[in-house]
Symmetry: C2
């Protein structure tokens, strides 16, 4: 039986591929693991049946027989260990994990904070003053990451789960204009998006979220 | 040779144990792995020698022979896999990883956002209006976590790396009063802090950060 993931019945991003199930789909495509998808509504996400899988009432979840996982980072690392494709030979798996955590814990938080400010505080008196501060916190991370890439195509030798997660995080900046300030990072994201596995993952979520009703 | 971690030469928290090296020390103590510590100043953290270990210029780092790791979550998961003590027998390692990610990616971000607001925006016109919003975002996470614990002593059977990380995250709320609104979580944190391995880790960082100069 295929593993089953959950995804939004209708993603708030309208098919731009920024919902976190796209990250899991991409990982599954990279390792060549077929999967099933169960769509959940916002209402269902807060019901006991879904909370039993994901205590914080979010998507995605991952079920494979008795094993139930949530948290995108944990699911991607687990998939990286089940089949070849996301842990390059010759690279220590803990180095790959380091980059997965760096993407989620060091690079993504200021990006999410910026999104939350735009979503929830746009009509406040303080938003216009706060936004430049938030942008500068993001720039500090992008600058360090760009320096670390330093001409390398990927973070650790060949493409890994760390790149998958880092690129997925950076994609959230597309509409901000911030990514374009760092051409090496924009090119890095483009390299990830050109991968056939990413293309398949994007198309699969687009079929649900992007196609007209 | 023992592995070497880096820590603040003088932690901004004055020895309360909230700097992230305490999490690594605790993990090392749980698995009974002796370690060496190299202290770095804020200036050294931004120099090339340290950036080669940690591209984002932070602590802690972990070095064991040729292996260099950064990101607390990755280091703790790596330690969990090297010696018994943080992956309870009978629990799938990916479940433990799920809780490490949940602590760092779902529970900690709104806590850090609150700390950043207090540190950087206390003197702004908007701070008094924004703080209640931030507190409510934290409460949503605490409420879900408390429901999930539901009388269990630990998140997955016996004590694991997931508990170590979740408790370390919740400790940051001590001065906020928010943790006390959830007695099950306050008791959970106290259970973690009562562990001899935590006591040793706390004492080791206190000797550097808390003792009078």
């Amino acid at each position: 039986m295929n593993p089953t993931i959950t995804a939004f019945q209708r993603s708030p991003d309208g098919g731009r591929g920024l919902a976190r199930d796209t990250r899991i789909r991409w990982a599954l495509e990279e390792i060549g693991q077929p999967y099933d998808v169960r769509l959940v509504s916002f209402d269902q996400m807060k019901q006991p049946a879904h909370l039993a899988l994901h205590p914080f009432g979010q998507i995605p979840t991952y079920q494979d027989g008795d094993l139930v996982l949530f948290e995108t980072g944990a699911i991607v690392l687990h998939l990286a260990q089940t089949r070849p494709g996301l842990l390059p030979p010759g690279t220590h798996p803990a180095r790959v994990a380091t980059w997965v955590f760096a993407a989620l814990n060091t690079v993504e938080p200021p990006i999410i904070e910026r999104e939350a400010a735009i979503l929830m505080e746009s009509d406040t008196a303080w938003h216009a003053q706060r936004l430049p501060m938030l942008n500068d916190r993001i720039r500090a991370r992008l600058s360090a990451l760009s320096a670390r890439l330093d001409g390398r195509p990927w973070l650790e030798g060949a493409f890994s789960a760390g790149d998958l997660m880092m690129i997925s995080v950076l994609q959230r900046l597309r509409s901000s204009g911030l990514l374009q300030e760092y051409p090496a990072l924009a090119a890095y994201v483009a390299r990830g998006e050109a991968r056939p596995a990413y293309q398949r993952a994007f198309a699969a979520q687009w079929a649900i979220n992007g196609a007209p009703e």
